[in-house]
Amino acid sequence: MNDEILQLRLEMLKEDLQAAMTIKGLLTADLAALSIQTRLSDVLNDDFDRFADKLQDDLADELAKLPTIDPADHDALREAWHNYAELRERNAQIHREFLEAMLGLTVRCKNLDNSFCALADALILSINRLHLPDTLAIPASHEAGSRTLARLVRVRFPEWTIWSLPLVAHEFGHVAIEDAKELRDIARTIIDSEAVADPQWVKDPQDEQKRKINQAIRQRVECRVRHFLADVFAVFTIGPSYPCSLILLRLTPGGPNSSGNEPRDIERAEVALEMLRRMAEAAPKPTGYDVIIKTLADEWSGMVTRSGVAPLTTGDEAALKRLVGQMEQNLKDSLGISRYRANFPGGGGWNTAYGWYQAWSAQGKINPRKLPVPNDITRASRIYDALNAAWAYRLFEKPLSLEPVAEATRQLCDKIIKARDEVASREGGGKAGGG
């Protein structure tokens, strides 16, 4: 005898999943409408297929098992209900994420975001030196702070400006930490050592309560390490614009306000600044880094002091600096990718960004209301250089109005994307979308 309600529930879940298969068709259509490259469309479809197929198989297994369960076997029935609850949650997760993708894409299709998400896609493509599968930027109420089923990078509504664009690098960092084995291993190694070093860690847990203590510690440490690693990754790949956006626009002295596992904002500020300090030690020394670091550090510490928040202890600071050093070294050693630097072999880098800033600075003294869009755009030009140039102008020139430099930067970014698209088109690869 079947449990009638359980049977009905499993069948409804099956219908639900089948209904969700239509999402794929709509998703593909929207992606095509946005001229988002086929590769990304395939990635999203593959993600969906993988999870949906597995769920379908597991659902079929549960349905097949149901008639064989002895009605007197309460344990088996409880387990069947437990399995159903798990299947339902997995089903809900698929739907949740693909609904997000669908809704985000409709906003993009109607250009309600003024192509900001396309800019975010281009930035991610340019920093994806690991050649990870593509991601898709969508509007959201808040960032995910972790990789999700589909490779979605959430861009907070309505913070759609070039000043907040660098923050996308942190979101992509979370995706990269999950997708790149090397980054995953880096994270795991650090999490293991940090968890064991926690003063409350139980060395050899003998009972469930002690195992739960260790589990809670590990979850907290994992959340912190992932955030720090994503911050380090962001500075490492795009340079000074990330700590500028993070510290001046996002972090608050007492944040975050939750009692969750996230690191404190004053810790993240220290991590981002420390990473930038290390990059400032490169030879040759990048012009202007010291000024940026000093400005951010002075601003931040002055603000923390005046906000009544307890600053980091010397010990905490030292521990964070060590962590950043370890992460930076791991990134350099394991990944073999170069960090943001003065000059990249193919072109671009801080010197390019600084050159653009200097041109704006010169023009700004003549007519601060209209800044020129640089002409020296090549296929090697990168969005992150434009963002670094913008922040350099903002911090060094302290303009009365940010609109001229924001407008010039936006146009510069559009030009960079167009240059890359033209090259890609000539090479027959379709729209590259990168920059």
Binding site: N2, D3, E4, I5, L6, Q7, L8, R9, E11, M12, E15, D16, A19, I23, L26, P71, H74, D75, L77, R78, W81, H82, A85, A92, H95, R96, L99, M102, L103, T106, V107, K110, N111, L112, P139, A140, S141, H142, F157, P158, W163, S164, I247, L248, L249, T252, P253, G254, N257, T295, D298, E299, G302, M303, T305, R306, S307, G308, V309, K398
Partner: protein
């Protein structure tokens, strides 16, 4: 730059963000009909938040360079939190409206709107908003929009939207019985406030849509395995199921029609109890809980039946006629007095009788019920 520069930068950024959001709401790409129903709410809340943030900015500018900033940060954090809630609803509206226009909801939102407008009119508690897709059902007090579950763009879960409307009715109708009951109850247990709100919404949904809501909950929503577990915001599923079935019996007692819902309530209870027993969960509710639920239900049912009797579901006989058509594999012919809850009850009645695994019948029922509901929704427009 001074130590308050970061605070001022973030305040200015927030002000700009709100302007951007207001601009997005002016887009001609958004469904005008839906926009008109909610635009004023968003504009009022966003502009108020923007003005308060601008006022804070002016205050911060006047703070001496060496003065503490903790109060200012605290004030900013509070404003930002309130603003974030409105912006979140704003984005949900933008996406939800576009999803409806693009047909991602397969038309279910329009059907849900029609049913809920009908119920709110009968209750004389006008609900001025609409439904949008989300990953789960809920009523957003801030905007008044009701979310319905994505991917379940079929009729089976529609009764749940009546539960969400019940949350709106609880805030909007001109009666303090629920509020007074909550005040008394939460002295004993602070969770009782949330529980009573849920129970009221269940009461309203059952009262307004009949057995369809009970069947949706018992057969597709509540989990027997965790039926006795109470959460922070939701009472135990077993308590809710008791409450819903007892509401049907209360309607019978109130109307003097002893067997109107007696049989169907008994059948739903049989299925639910069988699932509880199969999952080795006791079907008996603790006597103290039962006494409490009895007392609450008596008080709330009485006031609902007195003040909102107009909204009571009266189509059970018609639903049974429709169900007979469905059993004969025929689509019922709609009459001038037919309503969406009639179709839902008919469909659920047939579905509950169907053999497990008869996917074709279920599909046929669902599709035809949806078409009928869509026809009724269109007629109501």
């Amino acid at each position: 730059m001074t130590a308050k520069s970061i605070l001022l930068t973030q305040i200015e950024s927030s002000i700009d963000d709100i302007s951007r959001a207001l601009g997005t709401l002016e887009s001609s790409n958004l469904d005008t009909r839906l926009l008109q129903r909610v635009q004023a709410r968003f504009r009022i809340d966003l502009i108020e938040n923007q003005k308060r943030t601008a006022s804070l900015r002016d205050s911060v500018r006047k703070i001496p360079d060496d003065a503490p900033l903790d109060t200012a940060w605290s004030a900013y954090a509070s404003l930002k939190c309130k603003g974030a809630a409105v912006l979140s609803e704003c984005l949900a509206f933008i996406e939800g409206a576009l999803a409806r226009t693009n047909g991602i909801d397969a038309g279910i939102c329009r059907v849900a709107d029609a049913m809920l407008y009908d119920l709110s009119t009968l209750a004389d508690v006008q609900w001025p908003r609409f439904t949008i897709l989300a990953d789960g059902e809920f009523f957003a007090g801030l905007s008044g929009m009701i979310r319905i579950r994505f991917s379940d763009t079929s009729v089976w879960s529609l009764p749940v939207s009546a539960h969400e409307l019940g949350h709106y009715v609880a805030t909007a109708w001109n009666d303090s019985t629920l509020a007074d009951l909550i005040t008394r109850a939460k002295r004993k247990d602070t969770r009782f406030e949330a529980y009573l709100n849920e129970h009221f919404a269940d009461l309203f949904a059952t009262y307004a849509t009949g057995p369809a809501f009970a069947m949706t909950c018992a057969l597709s929503r509540f989990s027997p395995a965790s039926a006795l577990e109470s959460g922070k915001k939701h009472p135990a599923a077993a308590h809710r199921m008791w409450w819903i079935l007892e509401t049907l019996r209360s309607i019978d007692r109130s109307t003097g029609r002893a067997r109107q819902y007696g049989d169907i309530a008994g059948e739903i209870e049989r299925l639910w109890t069988a699932s509880l027993e199969a999952a080795a969960v006791s079907a008996e509710i603790d006597s103290a809980d039962r006494a409490r639920l009895n007392e609450w239900l008596a008080e709330l049912f009485d006031v609902l039946d007195t003040k909102l009797s107009n909204v009571r579901y009266r189509g059970w006989a018609r639903a049974q006629e429709m169900a007979e058509s469905f059993r004969n594999k025929q689509r019922p012919v709609l009459g001038p007095n037919d309503r969406i809850p009639d179709v839902l009850n008919a469909a659920w009645l047939c579905r509950s009788e169907a053999e497990s695994g008869d996917g074709y019948l279920v599909q046929w029922l669902g599709d035809n019920a949806f078409d009928l509901c869509a026809t009724l929704a269109k007629a109501a427009d």
